[in-house]
Amino acid sequence: MTATGKYLRIVLGIAVIAALIVVPMNFNRYGLYILSQWAVMTIAAMGLNLTLGYAGQISLAQGAFVGIGAYAAAIMTTQGMPLIAALAVAIVLCFAIGWILGYPALRVQHHYLAFVTLAFSTLAFLVFRNEDWLTKGIYGISNIPRPNVMGFATNRPLPFYYFCLGSLGIVSLAMWWLIRSPWGRAFVALRENPVRALSLGIDTRRYTLMAFAIGSALGGVAGTLYAPLTQYIDPVPFNLSLSLDLLMMVIVGGSGFFFGPFLGAMIAVLLPEWLRFTQGYYLMLYAVAVMLLLIYSPTGILGILDRYLAERRTKVASALRAVAKSRLETAP
């Protein structure tokens, strides 16, 4: 039973990856743009999922970190530096800022943390908008070049999509490893019961900061992909609503589930395209749907699935137990 389940999962995974590679081949420019955006937003949401879903610390600043990454990429690559250098700068910068921003998390309860990160988000937006010498202010930075990856130019939409998809793959593998490492387990211990985690010898201070810093750094990674994707950035996309959108993605998909951000980002990025016929009502419907979902299942769509599977498993187990019991009783 479990072995076939495992194979089924592997086959399903390979099928999805193959579909992600093959199906978009004859997509038009816009379709590829949307799919690339999905990959980028998934990376950012994965970072937030680590902070929120695994370590249990709310952050309303993920959009600001995407902005920091995007500005690092835009400023450095328009100066002729390679994207990989910008990536390194973005990761280090976001990691450091995330670490510092995590300090209030050590002192105050979760809702205060929401306000600290919210304040940071707005402050970052003000810096993007007002520091003209660095960010060109409201005029934005245009003509952001796309990188050459191992000799391949990614100027055209399809190669750039593969570049985003490949980055998503690398980040996913790293995340998969992280969650299964002792660190990942420490993060979960932190979320479930900080006092018990502390008494088990987990340095809760360090792990809280670490969860914040790694999650923020992933926001920066997403940002460095975002800038060459749109090839033009201004402060507007990185305001508070991006942070809220990312939070919704994590929650809708299922916070604390590995595949939650993938699903959440898909819904948030692709659904507006499919629901275009509803015109302006889309966001309203989305907001109502999110509220209904949260009422029904605060752990998101994957939470519903998880609950269903767990129920079925107990049913199967109790059926097996009944069979075994009846056998025992009928045995001579």
Partner: protein
């Protein structure tokens, strides 16, 4: 110096409005652990309800009454029954996130069903200036300040002097014991939601003539109210009042003396400093809940 006085009066007037919103915010937190991220949108909506009634041909005074009644119904009763009650068992954080979704939904609904443009809104205080001690002060500022102070005094009297107020305090401090000694806890919680709805409707009535009615105006207001509540003390009504007044004054002084670009940053920095060094707020006491 004289300029400073003008700024102080204007700051106190906006601060008094922030205080109304912040008081409602803390009341919800006290009695039912609801962190309402849609509080700013709660202030935005009543003005549009009143405008809608006026568009239907009703006079301004009737629009105010109907607007407040609709707010009580939608933002008080509806909010509690439809969102808070079913969400509360999931904990503080999911409920907070649900209110963020509510904020988005409310903004979009107003944008779609009313207008994306800013609409003018009549003032209940007549325009004009009065001279006090040789200084010219706008009548609107004074009217707003007076009305807000009257409401705050009335609310404080309700909480501290009346039996209902004492029952509400008991509900906030310890719902279980309150229930044992016969306080109708459920009714008290509902009452705080209605008071919050009344306060935001009033704040809407006072602030919209100054900043126009716009679907997105709740963002700034909501942030100001959160900051006021935290700076003053999350678990104290008088803290929220002090915080509101302080943020209003700081906001206005920052607009005059700090660069206009970074004006919005000053209250945020104040917030971060307070959270880091005095998380219970200026007037709050740690780990204690009172109304």
């Amino acid at each position: 110096m004289s300029n400073l006085l003008d700024l102080l009066v204007a700051g106190l007037a906006t601060g008094a409005i922030y205080a109304l919103v912040a008081v409602g915010f803390t009341l919800l937190w006290q009695t039912s652990q609801t962190i309402n991220f849609a509080q700013g949108e709660f202030v935005m909506l009543p003005a549009f309800l009143m405008l809608a009634v006026m568009h239907a041909g009703a006079p301004f005074w009737l629009a105010i009454i109907l607007g407040i009644l609709l707010s009580l119904l939608l933002l008080g009763l509806g909010f509690k029954l439809l969102l808070v009650d079913p969400m509360l068992r999931h904990g503080v954080l999911p409920l907070a996130i649900a209110t963020m979704a509510l904020a988005i939904g409310m903004k979009e609904a107003v944008k779609q069903f009313f207008s994306a443009e800013a609409s003018p809104f009549p003032s209940i205080v007549p325009a004009g200036d009065v001279s006090i001690l040789g200084r010219v002060v706008s009548l609107q500022s004074l009217g707003v300040l007076a009305l807000a102070i009257a409401v705050v005094i009335g609310l404080t009297a309700l909480l501290n002097r009346t039996s209902i107020g004492h029952q509400m305090q008991a509900t906030a401090q310890n719902p279980t014991v309150a229930r044992i000694i016969g306080v109708p806890v459920e009714r008290m919680i509902l009452l705080t939601f209605l008071i919050n709805a009344f306060l935001v409707a009033l704040a809407s009535l006072l602030i919209t003539p100054i900043y126009l009615a716009k679907f997105s105006s709740g963002e700034v207001l909501g942030q100001a109210a959160f900051i006021a509540a935290i700076v003053g003390g999350f678990n104290q009504v008088r803290g929220a009042i002090a915080g509101g007044l302080l943020i209003g004054v700081v906001d206005n002084l920052a607009a005059a003396y700090v660069s206009t670009q970074y004006r919005a940053a000053v209250p945020l920095i104040l917030l971060i400093v307070i959270i880091l060094f005095r998380p219970q707020g200026l007037l709050g006491r740690p780990e204690e809940r009172t109304v």
